[in-house]
């Protein structure tokens, strides 16, 4: 966890969009301080199951744990102006980077927008990540990522033709903005290293999401085509889909992209008579008879487990995979080998599997190394040791419920 050692980050942020950026940076050794208050703890602590054993509690949230390992947690009641405002500025002056994901305008109302914080630290980098951006007619419209994923076109592309759109689990688009937000911060840090200049970064989750759809946006603009959902079908491959396997609700996927692969695939199935039918002889023919094709392949796959199908076809050089469930991801041999999960003990959750980054750096292996913090766990340490408040100042601020 050496890569980002020495980088100091403060999050005036809650839920996923801000804190998950901080998580990735903390995984690589940045010192990340998550700011909450007892008046309003992070919404993941209060409003989003799962909670350990389904018992609601501020320190029992799986989602908070996922997004906040290796961070320090402090409380600051920003409603207690002007003392809280002054303290917030002091914290920002300590930091290299501030991450915030309040609704646009909130930081200004609290007196701690970029202009204000820049007075305290001219070379500050600040990321504001929001649904729709800091400007524009809809900037102040608040919303959750799960619904923004619909405004940005993703759910329109999910489901069967003519049927209802289908849900993408959780705040899908938030985590798109997380990758972009982190990249933006890292670029700004590099720029600051070379020029001495800070930066203000306005990331709209909506706009980052649309990056993922560039080709079909262009298709509409130049050809007038409106991309639509088409279940698991793909113009480049047939068969291409999910097929039932032995057991209850077990599925595999497979896809055949060339005529050579089709021949190999038929052999792997044991060359059943139907596969020689000329209605499956070419890609065009298979596309035309795809329902029939899918049904026959399903009759073959249902005699095997998903893993048997994956191994049999991969051995033959055909793309195939298990549809892993949310249980399977913890035991999938590839993820286990990486290893993707780090088991750490949490005082209220017990054993929790924290998520490693999806990229591994050869010389600076990442965390997680510390469980997510309890609410206010590091008040004492951060305010006194890192920020340098005297015992007296600290005690006073606690008493006045500024640190609260």
């Amino acid at each position: 966890m050496e890569a980002l050692k020495g980088v100091k980050i403060v999050e005036f942020a809650a839920f996923a969009a801000g804190p998950a950026v901080g998580k990735h940076l903390a995984d690589h050794g940045a010192t990340v301080v998550h700011v909450e208050s007892r008046v309003r703890p992070d919404g993941f602590r209060t409003h989003y199951p799962p909670y350990k054993d389904n018992i609601h509690g501020l320190n029992r949230s799986g989602l908070f744990a996922l997004c906040n390992n290796d961070k320090l947690d402090i409380t600051l009641n920003l409603k207690k102006a002007p003392k809280a405002t002054e303290l917030a500025k002091k914290i920002a002056a300590w930091a290299d980077v501030v991450i915030e994901n309040f609704s646009p305008g909130t930081m200004a109302r609290l007196g701690i927008d970029y202009e204000a914080l820049k007075q305290a630290k001219p070379e500050l980098i600040m990321l504001s990540t929001s649904n729709l951006g800091q400007s524009g007619p809809h900037a102040h419209h608040a919303g959750f990522g799960s619904q923004l994923s619909s405004l940005a076109g993703f759910t329109h592309l999910t489901g069967y033709p003519g049927g209802s759109p289908q849900i993408l689990y959780g705040p899908y688009i938030d985590y798109i903005a997380v990758a972009y937000g982190a990249a933006a911060i890292l670029a700004a840090l590099d720029y600051r290293r070379r020029t001495g200049r800070g930066n203000y970064i306005d990331t709209a989750q909506y706009e980052t999401g649309l990056q993922y759809l560039a080709p079909i946006l262009l298709d509409y603009k130049v050809n007038g085509a409106v991309a639509d959902r088409n279940a698991n079908r793909d113009p480049q491959a047939a068969p291409h889909g999910a097929y039932p396997c032995e057991g209850d609700d077990n599925w595999c996927v497979l896809s055949v992209h060339t005529e050579g692969e089709w021949r190999t695939f038929c052999e792997a199935m044991g060359s059943p008579a139907w596969s020689a039918d000329k209605k499956f002889a070419t890609h065009a023919a298979r596309k035309e008879n795809e329902n029939d094709l899918d049904r026959r392949i399903g009759e073959w796959t249902c005699g095997f487990t998903p893993r048997e199908i994956m191994e049999k076809l991969q051995d033959a050089g055909i793309r195939a995979g298990v549809v892993n469930t949310m249980k399977d991801v913890y035991t999938d041999p590839q993820l286990a080998q990486r290893p993707q999960w780090v088991e750490l003990e949490h005082p209220e959750i017990g054993k929790m599997h924290y998520q490693r980054p999806p990229f591994l750096l050869s010389k600076t292996p990442p965390g997680p190394s510390k469980r997510d913090p309890l609410l206010a766990e590091h008040n004492d340490y951060f305010y006194k040791e890192l920020l340098g408040l005297s015992e007296e100042e600290y005690r006073q601020l606690v008493e006045e419920q500024v640190i609260y």
């Binding site: 980088v7 989003y48 007619p137 919303g143 405004l151 993408l168 560039a214 603009k221 994956m310 195939a320």
Partner: protein, 421 residues
């Protein structure tokens, strides 16, 4: 073409060699959006992904793939046959001056050409090699082949999408490649930060399967904490209650669908209240909804019967309005919810116009200029935008080999004849 003034970008001093296929296109593009000098290296004749549609004018043509346009802008383009000795030599010359190299070859392939990380770091200890594969450089699946649907399946994403009584689904427009490319950019830039501090490059091993774990947020933690397996629930939201109740997410309206959810919390209460007022203004709010005490409404405790009773009159109300009406009202009334937009409606959203999101990019070869989704973020210092359209096949061979490496033009024609470039 817009003039290449990328010196205004935050990463302008850095050079990227991009050997990636579609699994990694976005990684190089993001570094390019930030101002880096990205050189896309294609095999002679052009990258296979140039055959991916849709196409400009709907006619398949390797120079008109909109998939290519969308994800390879902000890159210059050269051709190079890495499997020829001369090709490897040229690549090594480029690698000496490169800050980043991105590849998506099967693990071991670059090593077999003596161009793996060990070899590259000998000629350029500062270089960061970002290797992007479906499953990572090592492990039991490392040699498995995968396209989008296999990555979506093995990451677990598909188990959460689709109707319970039908097969698991992927998103129709491939998502795994873009998720992977963008997370890979984060990894490359973390390694960059370390390199700028210490002078040492490193090898970044990106797994698409692992990237896509982020696409479902926390669904897996239900198993980790409570041994509950979250599953596909069609158009319903699960996991928000401890009773197991599920909420409708997609509601048919006059011209498509709306995304609206009965939420708890402060924002949810405000929304529910505003909706009932809106319904009431049209005489469509039943008495029990008007009387509901939203302040004490606790979403985590709500039962399915309670949810069903609330949803019925709401469905009736939504069926009579359009997506545009809904969008206008949710913004005005400060409610949560959005229409299920298609690309057409995305272009009509005034928010993008106001923020200058669409960026006109000139395509002189097509005698056209096209509106692209512009920079992914706005910086107070430094720009993030499209500096140049995607390259034609071998468009910058002369610029890169001739001017940069100083290969004489007679030799360039010879290299072309030999199929090296």
């Amino acid at each position: 073409m817009s003039s290449d003034n990328r010196s205004a970008g935050l990463l302008a001093p850095f050079r990227v060699l991009d050997l990636a296929d579609e699994l990694g296109f976005l990684c190089g593009k993001i570094l390019g959006d930030l101002g880096a000098d990205v050189i896309k290296i294609e095999r002679p004749g052009g990258d296979a992904a140039r055959r991916l549609g849709p196409f400009y004018g709907n006619r398949p043509d390797p120079e008109k793939s909109l998939y290519w346009f969308g994800f390879n802008n902000n890159k210059r383009g050269i051709t190079l046959n890495l499997e020829s000795a001369k090709g490897r030599q040229l690549f090594s010359q480029l690698a000496v001056k490169a800050d980043f190299i991105i590849d998506t070859f099967p693990p071991g392939y670059l090593d077999s050409l003596a161009l793996g990380y060990a070899a590259l770091s000998r000629i350029n200890p500062r270089v960061i090699l970002t290797s992007i594969t479906p499953f990572g450089q090592t492990g039991p699946y490392s040699q498995f082949k995968a396209s989008d649907i296999e990555i979506m399946a093995l990451s677990g994403c598909m188990s959460l999408t689709g109707d319970p009584d039908r097969p698991p689904l992927r998103v129709t427009f491939p998502q795994s490649y873009v998720w992977t490319g963008s997370y890979a950019a984060m990894g490359a830039l973390i390694a960059h930060h370390y390199r700028e501090r210490t002078g040492e490059g490193q090898h970044v091993d990106v797994s698409a399967q692992a990237c896509l774990l982020w696409a479902f947020s926390h669904a897996h933690t239900f198993w980790d904490l409570n041994r509950q397996v979250e599953k596909r629930a069609g158009s319903f939201m699960t996991g928000r209650t401890i009773t197991g109740a599920k909420m409708r997410v997609f509601w048919p309206c006059k011209d498509g669908y709306l995304n609206f959810i009965i939420y708890g919390g402060e924002a949810g209460r405000r929304t529910n209240q505003a909706l009932v007022q809106w319904m009431d203004s049209k005489g469509m709010a039943p008495e029990f909804l008007k009387q509901k005490d939203w302040k004490s409404f606790d979403i985590a405790q709500v039962t399915q019967a309670e949810i069903d009773r609330m949803e019925e009159p709401i469905a009736h109300f939504f069926a009579a309005i359009t997506k545009a009406e809904f969008f206008k009202e949710v913004v005005q009334r400060e409610m949560l919810g959005y229409p299920v937009a298609s690309v057409k409606e995305i272009f009509a959203d005034p928010q993008h116009e106001a923020r200058g999101f669409w960026q006109k990019v000139e395509h002189p070869e097509l005698k056209a200029s096209i509106d692209y989704p512009g920079g992914f973020t706005k910086f107070a210092q430094g720009a993030c935008q499209i500096w140049r359209r995607a390259p034609l096949i071998g468009e910058h061979n002369q610029e890169v080999y001739g001017e940069d490496l100083g290969v004489p033009s007679s030799e360039l024609s010879e290299l072309k004849r030999q199929g090296v470039i």
